[in-house]
C-alpha cells in the first residue's frame, strides 16, 4: 500500500533529547518507505505543535502519523485527538515510546539509546503502513450508579449524583449509615459533631426519591461491565417491622439478656443482641443481630414489632457505573504493642474518641478518674522494616515493659491522626477539668490550617515530646502505675517519664480487612494495599476497571474534607460514564476467525476478563468475544492451537513487520 506518513520526534524539553540524538533519529527514518515528512519538536504535546501537526496532515494529505515521545499512557489520547481534528481516522496514528523505554532507561548510554530510538521509530512506521481505519464500539450505558458504602464519601456522592439527575442505589453493609464519621463525635476544624453531619446527610438522602438505600446489604456477585453492571446484593433483614413503636423497642432492648462487645464503641462497651448504635441513629429503628441472638423470645414478649419471620433476600442492582466508597479500618494494635490489651488503661485513638463522647462530667475509664493522658503517635503508621526498631518487652514480678516494636508493613503516614488527636486533646481539656495532655510524637504533621490547632494546644499547656527514629517510647507498668518513658529530641535526648492514667495509642488508617468487594471487582491495590487510582494527578478517581471509580479512605488515608472532595470528583466521573446513555469503547479487541476455530476452550481459560464464551455458529462450537468486556490484552492469542484469534491493530502481520524493523541492521 502506498502511504504518505508524517513522523514527529519529540525532545520532551530535555527529557528525551539529553540522551537521544533526536536529529539523528529523524535523519535515520526520514527516507523510510512511505515517510513524507519527519520533524523534531520541543514538546509534541504542546498546543502549538499539535496545531502544526493538524496543518501538516491537511496540507500534505497525510494518511498516517507516528509520534515518538513519552509513554502512550500519557499522550495516546492527545495524539489520537490531533489525528481526528485533522480528519484522519485516529487509528492511523502509531506511538513510539522513546522516553520511558529509551532516554530514561538508558541515560548511561547515549549512543545505544539513539540506536534503540531509531529502531522503535522504524517499527512504529512499519506498523502504521499497515494501519486500518477503525470505528469505536458503541454500547448503551444505563443511567444509574451503584454507590458501595454509605459513609461520608458514599452518602455525599449519592446526593450529588441524585442532584445531577442520576438514579442511585446506595449499598451499605452495616444496618446503619454514616460509617466512621458516625463514630467520631468531635470533628476537627468545625464545631459539628459526626452525628449531626450524618443526620444532615441522611435527611438529604431521604428527601431524594431517586436514591434507593439498602442497609444490611452486601454485594455478593458482580457481572457485566462498564455501562451495564449487574450486582447481586444480599440483604439481611432487621427482624423488626418498619412501623414500630419506639417505646416498646426500648423495652425490648432492655429485656434482651445477650451482651456482646459493641463494635460501634470499638469494643470498650457491650450492647444487646437487639440494638441501635445511638438513639436517633439512621435508619431510626433498631436491628436484631441474628448471629448473636439466642431466640429466647424475651424481646417479642414486650414488643409487637419484632418479626423473626423476615427472610434474607437477594436484590439485583443494575448500574452503568460503580462508585466504591468502602472506607478504612482503624489500625488494630497487636496484643502487647505499647501495652495494648496487656495493660487495662491502654486504648486506641478511636476508643478514646468514644470514651470522651460517653463521659459526661468527669473523664473516667473503667471506673478510674483520668488526669494524665499520654498520647503515643504513629502506632501502625510509618512502620519500619523488621529488625530496625527495638522490640522491648520484658517482665519481672512487679515490673512489666510493653513491646515497642514499630516494624510492620505500613510505611505510609495516615495523615489525619496528628490533627485528630490534638483536636481531641484540646476538647478533652476544655470539657473536663484537671486533665494534662502529654504527646509522645514522631514530629507533628498538622499540615495547612490545621497548624492552628497545634498552636492552640501549645498555648493550653499541652506537653510535646518527640522520640528519635527507631527509638519509640516505652510503656512500663510498675507497682500498679503505668509510665511512658521517652528519650526526647526536644530536650537533646533527656530521658523523660510521665505517669499516665490513660495511654492513647494514636492509631492510623489501614485498608479494610474484609477484602471481598475488591476481589469481586478485581480492583488493583497500591503498595500500601489501599485501592489504586490510575494516575494520582491525571485520573485520581478512576481505576483500571472501566466504569468503577474510587473515593474516600478506601483509596488512602484522608480526613473528611479530603474524602468529600474525592467523593464529589468520583461522582462527576461516574456521572460522565452514564449521562449520555451510551459509551464509546476501544475497537482494539480480539477477533475470532470462525472458520479456523475448533473450540478447545483454552482462550476462555486464558482470558482475565471473562470475555470469551462458547457459542454455536452454524452448528459448530466456536469462541465468541464479548466486545464490551474484551480489553485487547492479547492473552488469548498465544494459547490458541490453530491460530484462529487475531488482535485488531496488532495482527500477526503487523507484529511481524515491527519485529523485522526492530531487527533491521542488527547482526
Amino acid at each position: 500500500m502506498n502511504r504518505k506518513l508524517g513522523v514527529y520526534i519529540c525532545h520532551c524539553g530535555g527529557n528525551i533529547s539529553d540522551y537521544v540524538d533526536v536529529e539523528k533519529v529523524k535523519a535515520a527514518v526520514e527516507h523510510d518507505e512511505g515517510v513524507f515528512l519527519a520533524r523534531t519538536t520541543m514538546f509534541a504535546c504542546s498546543d502549538a505543535t499539535q496545531k502544526e501537526m493538524v496543518e501538516d496532515i491537511n496540507a500534505n494529505q497525510l494518511d498516517g502519523i507516528v509520534v515518538a515521545s513519552c509513554s502512550p499512557k500519557l499522550h495516546l489520547t492527545t495524539f489520537r485527538a490531533v489525528a481526528e481534528r485533522a480528519g484522519l481516522n485516529k487509528y492511523n496514528y502509531v506511538h513510539a515510546n522513546i522516553r520511558e523505554q529509551v532516554s530514561w532507561a538508558h541515560s548511561d548510554n547515549k549512543t545505544g539509546a539513539t540506536e534503540k530510538a531509531i529502531h522503535l521509530v522504524k517499527s512504529a512506521i512499519a506498523r502504521v503502513r499497515l494501519a486500518e481505519s477503525l470505528d469505536p464500539i458503541t454500547i448503551p450505558s444505563r443511567k444509574a450508579v451503584a454507590v458501595i458504602g454509605a459513609g461520608i464519601s458514599g452518602m455525599r456522592a449519592a446526593i450529588e449524583l441524585a442532584d445531577m439527575g442520576c438514579p442511585v442505589t446506595l449499598i451499605e453493609r452495616e444496618h446503619f449509615v454514616g460509617g466512621r464519621v458516625a463514630q467520631w463525635d468531635l470533628l476537627f476544624t468545625t464545631d459539628q459533631t459526626g452525628k449531626e453531619l450524618v443526620t444532615r446527610l441522611y435527611d438529604d438522602i431521604a428527601k431524594r426519591s431517586n436514591i434507593r438505600l439498602l442497609t444490611g446489604a452486601e454485594v455478593i456477585e458482580n457481572t457485566g461491565n462498564i455501562g451495564d453492571f449487574t450486582l447481586k446484593v444480599k440483604v439481611t433483614p432487621r427482624y423488626i417491622n418498619e412501623r414500630c413503636d419506639e417505646g416498646n423497642l426500648q423495652r425490648a432492648i432492655d429485656a434482651c439478656p445477650v451482651e456482646v462487645p459493641d463494635d460501634f464503641n470499638f469494643n470498650i462497651t457491650t450492647r444487646k443482641a437487639i440494638y441501635h448504635n445511638f438513639p436517633s441513629e439512621y435508619p431510626q429503628y433498631p436491628v436484631i443481630d441474628i448471629k448473636n441472638c439466642t431466640r429466647c423470645g424475651e424481646c417479642e414478649k414486650v414488643c409487637g414489632s419484632i418479626d423473626f419471620s423476615q427472610q434474607e433476600k437477594t436484590v439485583e442492582v443494575k448500574a452503568g457505573s460503580v462508585l466504591m466508597a468502602t472506607g478504612f479500618d482503624p489500625y488494630n494494635p497487636s496484643e502487647g504493642e505499647f501495652g495494648y490489651l496487656q495493660f487495662d488503661n491502654v486504648v486506641t485513638l478511636p476508643q478514646f474518641k468514644r470514651i470522651i463522647d460517653m463521659c459526661e462530667e468527669k473523664l473516667t475509664f473503667r471506673g478510674k478518674d483520668i488526669h494524665n493522658i499520654a498520647y503515643i503517635y504513629c502506632v501502625g503508621s510509618r512502620q519500619v522494616e523488621a529488625g530496625a526498631s527495638s522490640a522491648g518487652g520484658s517482665a519481672t514480678d512487679r515490673y512489666e515493659e510493653a513491646s515497642r516494636d514499630i516494624s510492620g508493613e505500613n510505611r505510609y503516614c495516615s495523615r489525619y491522626c496528628c490533627t485528630s488527636v490534638i483536636h481531641s486533646a484540646i476538647e478533652t481539656k476544655k470539657r473536663f477539668r484537671a486533665v494534662n495532655n502529654y504527646h509522645f510524637t514522631r514530629g507533628i504533621r498538622t499540615y495547612g490550617k490545621q497548624e492552628l490547632l497545634y498552636n492552640e494546644s501549645l498555648k493550653m499547656g499541652d506537653i510535646y515530646l518527640q522520640s528519635y527514629e527507631n527509638d519509640p517510647p516505652s510503656v512500663i507498668r510498675e507497682n500498679g502505675k503505668t509510665t511512658v518513658r521517652i528519650n526526647d529530641i526536644m530536650t537533646a535526648g533527656k530521658e523523660i517519664s510521665v505517669n499516665a492514667d490513660l495511654i492513647v495509642l494514636v492509631t492510623g488508617m489501614v485498608p479494610r480487612s474484609d477484602n471481598r468487594i475488591a476481589s469481586l471487582f478485581k480492583l488493583p491495590k497500591g503498595r500500601d494495599n489501599f485501592f489504586n487510582e490510575i494516575h494520582m494527578k491525571l485520573r485520581p478517581v478512576e481505576t483500571v476497571i472501566d466504569g468503577v471509580t474510587i473515593c474516600g479512605a478506601c483509596q488512602g488515608p484522608k480526613n473528611i474534607t479530603e474524602s468529600v472532595n474525592s467523593s464529589l470528583s468520583a461522582a462527576t466521573k461516574s456521572f460522565s460514564y452514564v449521562s449520555k446513555g451510551e459509551l464509546e469503547l476501544e475497537p482494539i479487541i480480539a477477533r475470532v476467525d470462525a472458520a479456523l476455530c475448533t473450540w478447545c476452550g483454552k482462550c476462555m481459560e486464558a482470558c482475565p476478563f471473562d470475555a470469551v464464551k462458547k457459542v454455536v455458529d452454524g452448528g459448530k462450537e466456536i469462541a465468541a468475544i464479548n466486545n464490551s468486556v474484551c480489553k485487547g490484552c492479547g492473552m488469548c492469542l498465544p494459547v490458541c492451537p490453530v491460530n484462529a484469534i487475531d488482535l485488531v491493530a496488532y495482527s500477526d502481520q503487523e507484529m511481524e513487520t515491527m519485529i523485522n524493523a526492530l531487527a533491521e541492521d542488527i547482526k
Binding site: C12, D47, T78, T190, R445, G448, L452, M490, S566
Partner: protein, 432 residues
C-alpha cells in the same frame, strides 16, 4: 476605557486557568456545560506548568500539564480569555450572575500570530524574564515561555520603546499597537474561583539575605533550574555560575512563622524540597544536599516512602531552624542554626541556599464581589463555609472554590478539590 464591549452568557465562569481551574472547566465542559475561563496571565497552566517534576511520582510536570492545557484550549465548550481580569461580579438571583471582565491589550492579534519568534529576535529591549523568576532576560516583544498556551507573542508595553522593530520583523503583520482593552459583559449561572496562591516574598525576612546575597534563591527559582525548559540548561549558582556542591534548604520560609503573620503550614514545601533534593542528587552527583526543617510533613499517598527514599539517597536532614544567613567573600553562605538533636547553636557553610517559600493567599479574591459578600478566612483565603459536607461551597450560593484559593494544598488535592467544585456547580445549575 474599553473600546469594544462584548456580551455573552455561559453556564459557568471559572476564574483562574491553573491546574484547578482547568480541571474544573474540563469537567463542566465534558458534561455539556458552556464555560468561560478567565486567566490573568498571558498563558494558562498556572504554576504547575513551570515546575520540574512532581512528587512523589517524579512525573515530568510539563508533560502532564500540557495535555490538560491543550485539551482545555481546544475544547469547543470552553472559551478562554488570557491576559484578562474579572473586575466585578454581581449575583442577581439563583442561577443568575453578571460579571464584568476586562481583557487587556496584548498588542498582538492572537489569531494571526504563528509564534515564529522573529519579533523576539528583532526587539532590542531586554528585561527580567518573570517566567524564569528573573534569573535570565527576555525581550519586550516576547512569547511568554516555550510551552505557553496560547503560544503567541505579546508586547510588554511598559518596557517597550515603541521602536517598531518587531512590527517590521513580523511576517504576518499581527503586531498592533492600537489595540485597546476589551470589556466583556457576561451573564452566568455559576462561578468557580480558582485563583490559586502566591508565593511568600522572602524579602520580608531580611536575615535570610534574599535579594542581597546572590546565591540565596527561592525554591521556585530552583524549580526552574531543574525544569526541562530551564534557563541555563544545568544547575548553576547565580552569583558566579559555579556548579554548586553544598546546597541547603531552609524549610518553613514564611510558613509556621508568626513574625511574618503566617502561622499556618504551607503543606507542600517539605515534599517539593525533598523532591528537588532527589533531582539535585541526580543532576549534580557530587553534591551534598542538606534540608533544615522543623517537622517533615510527608503525609500524602506515597509521601512517607518518598521521604524514606531521599534519606536512602543520602539527603541530609537536620532538625533545626535557621537563625540567619551571612555571606562570605567567595559567595559561599554561613547558616547559623539551632541543632535540635544536639541542643546547640551551630554554623554550617553552604555554597547555595534555597529558601523553601510558603503559600500565601491571592489578594485578588477580595475584589470580585461587593465588600464582605465573599467571606475570606483570617489569612484571606476563600472561606469554605461548609467545610465537611461541601468543601467547595463559599458564603455565596452558586459560587464555588477550587484548589489553593481556599488554602494550601498539593496538586492531587487541588485536582480533587476542583472535581468537587465542578460537581457542585453542575448540580447547582441542574437543580434549579
Amino acid at each position: 476605557m474599553a473600546e469594544k464591549i462584548f456580551k455573552d452568557s455561559f453556564d459557568a465562569l471559572v476564574i483562574g486557568g491553573g491546574i484547578a481551574g482547568g480541571e474544573a472547566a474540563l469537567n463542566l465542559a465534558n458534561n455539556g456545560f458552556r464555560v468561560i475561563l478567565v486567566e490573568k496571565d498571558l498563558s494558562i497552566g498556572g504554576k504547575m506548568i513551570h515546575l520540574s517534576k512532581v512528587f512523589p511520582t517524579l512525573d515530568c510536570s510539563a508533560c502532564i500539564t500540557t495535555p490538560k492545557v491543550s485539551e482545555i484550549s481546544r475544547h469547543p465548550s470552553i472559551t478562554i480569555l488570557t491576559g484578562s481580569e474579572v473586575k466585578k461580579i454581581v449575583k442577581r438571583g439563583k442561577n443568575d450572575f453578571e460579571a464584568m471582565v476586562i481583557k487587556h491589550p496584548r498588542y498582538v492579534r492572537e489569531e494571526d500570530c504563528t509564534g515564529c519568534q522573529l519579533c523576539e529576535q528583532a526587539c532590542p529591549v531586554v528585561v527580567n524574564d518573570q517566567y524564569q523568576y528573573d534569573m535570565v532576560g527576555r525581550k519586550a516583544a516576547y512569547i511568554p515561555f516555550s510551552i505557553a498556551s496560547p503560544r503567541v507573542a505579546a508586547i510588554d508595553i511598559e518596557n517597550c520603546t515603541l521602536c517598531g522593530a518587531c512590527e517590521k520583523a513580523c511576517p504576518t503583520k499581527c503586531i498592533d499597537f492600537t489595540q485597546e482593552a476589551t470589556e466583556y459583559q457576561l451573564s452566568l449561572r455559576s462561578v468557580i474561583i480558582a485563583t490559586g496562591f502566591n508565593l511568600f516574598d522572602p524579602l520580608k525576612i531580611e536575615r535570610f539575605g534574599y535579594g542581597k546575597m546572590k546565591n540565596v534563591i527561592t525554591s521556585m527559582q530552583m524549580e526552574r533550574l531543574l525544569a526541562p525548559t530551564r534557563p541555563y540548561n544545568t544547575v548553576l549558582r547565580p552569583g558566579d555560575g559555579k556548579m554548586p556542591c553544598r546546597l541547603a534548604y531552609v524549610l518553613c520560609t514564611g510558613s509556621r512563622d508568626i513574625t511574618v503573620g503566617n502561622p499556618i503550614c504551607s503543606q507542600i514545601c517539605c515534599m517539593y524540597s525533598i523532591k528537588q533534593a532527589q533531582l539535585l542528587m541526580g543532576a549534580l552527583p557530587m553534591a551534598d544536599v542538606t534540608i533544615y526543617y522543623i517537622n517533615i510533613r510527608s503525609f500524602g499517598k506515597g509521601f512517607e516512602e518518598f521521604y524514606d527514599q531521599a534519606k536512602g539517597m543520602g539527603v541530609n536532614f537536620v532538625k533545626g531552624k535557621i537563625g540567619m544567613i551571612s555571606e562570605k567573600e567567595d559567595g559561599d553562605l554561613i547558616l547559623r542554626y539551632e541543632d535540635i538533636n544536639d541542643n546547640v547553636v551551630k554554623e554550617a557553610s553552604h555554597d547555595m541556599v534555597i529558601l523553601s517559600v510558603g503559600v500565601v493567599s491571592n489578594p485578588d479574591n477580595a475584589a470580585f464581589f461587593d465588600s464582605g459578600q465573599l467571606r475570606l478566612d483570617p489569612f484571606e483565603f476563600v472561606c469554605q463555609t461548609d467545610l465537611l459536607a461541601s468543601p467547595a461551597r463559599t458564603s455565596i450560593g452558586g459560587v464555588f472554590v477550587a484548589g489553593t484559593a481556599s488554602g494550601p494544598m498539593d496538586i492531587p488535592d487541588s485536582i480533587l478539590s476542583a472535581g468537587a467544585a465542578s460537581s457542585e456547580a453542575m448540580s447547582y445549575i441542574i437543580r434549579k
